[in-house]
Subunit: 447 residues, 2 copies
């Protein structure tokens, strides 16, 4: 920033003033008495407030005195409409939970129901400071349209199983759905697409390979649940004689366009392979605990140079879509997993939830507050007693905050939430819709 | 309740109306369209709202439509003024954290500083729905006076180490401080006392025995940190040739008046001993994770019939005093600890945080909403998106809530917090005080 000349200030849309900005730039700068200038949805400058005021002439100002700004969190793995199943079937292992409770109902979900689920999910993401997410579910246009209407960034993953499946009689039906999904949002700056096979044990190897070719053709990320539990490993060993990670590697599917969700049951050799292939991994601590999948060796992956993001997974296995909670979980269980109280420290957890996840979405410009990058910004209200006193803002973001201290959520310079006011959603009306959805699900489950 | 006659309604102080009450009574009743009648700080009736209205004539009413009521949570283990060290030294193992960072400063804390720490702690407890706590620290009259002024229930534990110590030249100095502490609050219904040796490896066996005799004489609980880590076990083995739990048992210190904090490194035989002796155990999942102490075998203890409560520990090793977060942590890590997704289910976690902790405080009337019991009640606002939809209120309390959904906190019929309004604390002023305290601590640490 040129703040030594007396040239006329540049025009910008907005200047935000706050006590502090945790930038998550390359140097992990933390700026006090800070200002951010925003133009056309991008940060045009971040620095000391006085310098920003001197250099820019904004159309409007937002004074967030007493607040701390940080990048909007990036949710690397979720199934947004599954908020419909929040608290519907708790305290069960992965396969029993899926086969006996979730799958029988979810295959029957209507677009009407999916919309309610996606809206609840968007409301929760906005409320807890998450500004973008990598999704995987069915009828993804519902989630895309809902996220777009709410002003959130989403990467949509139309999930599929071995063909024929309830949703897709043939592979071509699935591929054309994905092509259509991508076309639908080609001119929408908020919404992107990813190719999304469910898992290595539910999609055949030739289908995995064909789907990866589609991702390459469309130039979009390819994502899959992988190595989530020892049970999954056992199935892969029985079916294919290989553990999940070597299995995918044998088919050439571990690449820098690949995002693997979970990676709990991984060996040291497999971690080296993940690093060598520059694959992206999303850690889901809340879900891995709740479904008893295990503790992922996250610090080992980070030490090996693997890109690791953070996700909440769906609300039925967490039960929150609150990235603040999963940051804390990642840091807390990381220590016990590695028998080292310094493992997965606060900065590492915040890095996962911002820059790491951004790479997992194939959207590496997200997850930082920096000149030239998208203005996806959140504010935390430091007047909450659980954020007093302040020694270290990163520690407070990871260990001190619940997520509800978020008082402002902005995507691409647009304010989606400010002081209890949801700008793009009618959350009051949503409660009635949620009640209608829960009744529908209970009656559908009985059939 | 007699609701079949047409007799004149009884007078009461207050009727609360809410969508639902999770009572935590013996049957774990959950009442919808509920009402609670309160008189002289006690619940005089809880039931369907219409029946409550018919039977009672209140002085005032509180309509909490759209809210869920539950008992105020009971924090079984904390060091309240340690909020002063929140985020001050993270990502370190127990002994390094204590010896290099906490102890050098905390021995110098003045009553002025302790008051600020206790006030921040009380504000956080009230905000996150905790209505009573078992404390352990120095200058406990500060915490007692602060809690009493805030309207919270506290059991005060004046902590001590092997004599002579920085606070107490002799055992008699310590015992007289504890006697004075008890006398100070003899007529205060909110504040009680416990005898509180720090740990089996920092207090000599004869001092432990003498302190237990004092507790017996005063008829108050006796609490101690025990079996927190394998490092502690190793010290006990070297010093006394016994593991911590058998060591205490050999001295006759495992009784139903005894409360043990942590119990992470315990064997199956020791769990049987904990059950046989009817000792009370407080589980501290957040602290045990952050300090890398390990995962306590909580479900094994519950199965053996051990009384288990839940605590946050101090804010410097958690970093929150938020019982909702520790409920979720207890349930989530309990599954991985026992390799069973049904372990430490939502009801078990809520039981620990209410009825279990109440026994650990030696105050078993707390932790339930029931006729004749203290009116320590909190309300959760169900309009938060993370609590939509609703299938199971207990699941939402444990897995869905962050704690910030609390919109009303009441102790003994007195409202301490209602819709962002702290009735007994000036939280705005507290932020300036917190800043003053952090500066004092940083300058003291440098000396």
């Amino acid at each position: 920033m040129n703040n030594t000349t007396s040239s006329a200030p540049e025009a910008c849309d907005l200047i935000i003033r706050a006590d502090v900005v945790v930038t998550q730039d390359d140097a992990r700068s933390v700026i006090t008495n800070a200002g951010i200038a925003i133009l056309d949805g991008l940060v045009v400058e971040v620095g000391e407030y006085a310098a920003i005021e001197a250099a820019f002439e904004p159309t409007s100002r937002l004074d967030l005195a007493g607040k701390m700004l940080m990048p909007g969190l990036v949710n690397g793995h979720t199934h947004l409409p599954m908020t419909l199943f929040r608290g519907y079937a708790d305290d069960l292992p992965l396969m029993e939970w899926l086969e006996d409770h979730i799958w029988p109902v979810e295959f029957q979900l209507t677009d009407d129901m999916l919309t309610i689920g996606a809206q609840i999910g968007c409301a929760e993401l906005i409320r807890t400071g998450c500004t973008s997410f990598l999704n995987g579910y069915f009828h993804e246009a519902v989630t895309g349209d809902t996220a777009s209407a709410c002003g959130l960034r989403a990467v949509l993953g139309e999930g599929f199983f071995h063909f024929p499946s309830p949703h897709f009689p043939t592979a071509e039906d699935c591929w054309s759905t994905i092509r259509n999904l991508k076309s639908r949002y080609d001119s929408n700056p908020l919404i992107r697409t990813a190719v999304t096979p469910h898992a290595a044990f539910t999609v055949a190897p030739d289908e995995l390979v064909a789907s990866f070719e589609l991702a390459t053709e469309l130039d979009v990320p390819w994502q899959i649940h992988l190595a989530e539990s020892t049970a999954e490993t056992a199935i892969c060993m029985e079916k294919y004689g290989q553990r999940p990670i070597p299995l995918l590697h044998a088919y050439g599917l571990l690449t820098d366009k690949t995002t693997l969700h979970h990676c709990v049951d991984v060996t040291d050799e497999e971690i080296a392979l993940l690093a060598d292939t520059k694959v992206n991994v999303v850690h889901n601590p809340g879900s891995n605990l709740k479904l008893c999948s295990g503790l992922s060796p996250v610090q080992k992956m980070l030490d090996a140079g693997v890109t690791v993001g953070l996700g909440t997974d769906g609300a039925s296995s967490n039960n929150q879509l609150n990235m603040f909670r999963d940051m804390a979980l990642a840091a807390l269980i990381g220590k016990v997993r590695h028998n080292d109280a310094s493992a997965v420290n606060a900065q590492a957890a915040l890095d996962m939830a911002t820059r790491g996840s951004a790479k997992c979405l194939g959207w590496p410009e997200l997850g930082r507050i920096e000149k030239g990058y998208p203005a996806d910004i959140i504010a935390l209200d430091l007047s909450y007693p659980n954020l007093m006193p302040v020694y270290n803002h990163v520690s407070h973001a990871v260990y001190g905050a619940t997520g509800m201290e978020v008082c402002m959520t902005m995507v691409g310079g647009e304010i989606l939430y400010l002081y209890e006011d949801f700008k793009t959603l009618d959350v009051k009306a949503l409660r009635g819709e949620a009640l209608r959805a829960s009744k529908w699900i209970l009656s559908t489950a009985k059939k």
